[in-house]
């Protein structure tokens, strides 16, 4: 498939808005999911670290 020029490629025969609207939103959604997962993992580790530190402190004061 030879597009001839960047303009042709971006214009998509007049349907540029729809085609790129689809591909770009898909990319954004998938990237957002990845980012959300990374943030979720970091949040979990942070929260659990605090939880374990608090638990250690409790055990120390009990003992």
């Amino acid at each position: 498939m030879n597009w001839g020029s960047w303009q042709n490629f971006l214009a998509m025969g007049g349907y540029g808005l729809y085609v790129w609207g689809s591909y770009v939103v898909t990319l954004v959604v998938l990237v957002a999911e990845i980012v959300a997962l990374v943030m979720r993992r970091r949040g979990v580790i942070e929260r659990l670290a605090k939880y374990y530190a608090a638990r250690r402190r409790d055990h120390e004061t009990e003992a």
Partner: protein
């Protein structure tokens, strides 16, 4: 009495042993996803020819159809692992089912969004009540229902099991819903408006769709593995191995 240690897949059915396995496998699936999607995108833009009737707008099909396939496939997989967790009482299966839902829902959303953007230039309206889009909409409701039910129940085991019953009821209903919606749509609109029909499949188009579907599949596995690792950490926080894992992270 000594017994030779035979490898068994059941070894990985405990969260503790699955966690490192998931961590090791995830980058590989992510890499496969990137590779397959790159090939699929290349085919979709540079190999597949222009369509006679729809011009370039048909290229949306390379996202729309694979996303729709994935949304239905992931629901079946979710139902399967949910059911396994319900029947065999294994925690990890339920965790995997919970981890699958958001990815499935996102693919359903992508199918709906791309369907709307495909419908506008082709049939003039932003929403087309054809069989596939309407079924996808109902599937989105089923996903959201599953996630909402699990979020609303505080007791973890009850949430897992209730979600499993719901997911299994959904799995049984999906063919019924699809068939009903197909009947409804042909009855009211006739076969002229159908996203399943157009355009006629050239070999390159089919190949592109298959490769994108595989790419989406690999992506789903990678995302689910990452999410299930978070779920495992959250739910197993009372165990020593998670404490050691978190200690090692800091």
């Amino acid at each position: 009495m000594s017994k030779s240690r035979k490898f068994s897949w059941y070894y990985f059915s405990s969260p503790q042993s699955f966690y490192p396995l998931a961590g090791t496998l995830q980058p590989w699936f992510a890499a496969l996803a990137v590779l397959l999607c790159a090939v699929g995108l290349y085919i979709s833009f540079f190999v597949a020819p222009t369509d006679a009737q729809q011009g370039e707008s048909y290229r949306i099909i390379f996202i729309h159809v694979p996303a729709a396939w994935m949304s239905m496939f992931l629901y079946l997989v979710m139902g399967f692992w949910s059911g396994v967790g319900l029947v065999l009482n294994t925690r990890l299966s339920s965790m995997v089912a919970t981890a699958l839902a958001p990815t499935g829902a996102l693919f359903t959303f992508i199918a709906l969004w791309t369907g709307a953007l495909w419908g506008k230039p082709t049939w003039g309206t932003w929403w087309v009540w054809d069989a596939r889009l309407t079924s996808e909409l109902i599937l989105l409701f089923l996903y959201i229902g599953f996630m909402a039910l699990q979020a609303a129940i505080d007791d973890q085991r009850r949430a897992d099991k209730a979600g499993a019953v719901l997911a299994l009821v959904g799995v049984i209903n999906i063919p019924i819903i699809y068939f009903s919606v197909k009947w409804w749509s042909t009855l009211h609109q006739g076969a002229s408006v159908s996203m399943t029909g157009a355009p006629t499949m050239a070999k390159t188009m089919l190949l592109g769709m298959l490769i994108m579907a595989l790419g989406f599949w690999m992506y789903s596995i990678a995302a689910t593995l990452a999410r299930v690792r978070c779920v495992i950490l959250e739910r197993e926080r009372q165990t020593d191995w998670v404490a050691a894992e978190i200690g090692g992270q800091k």
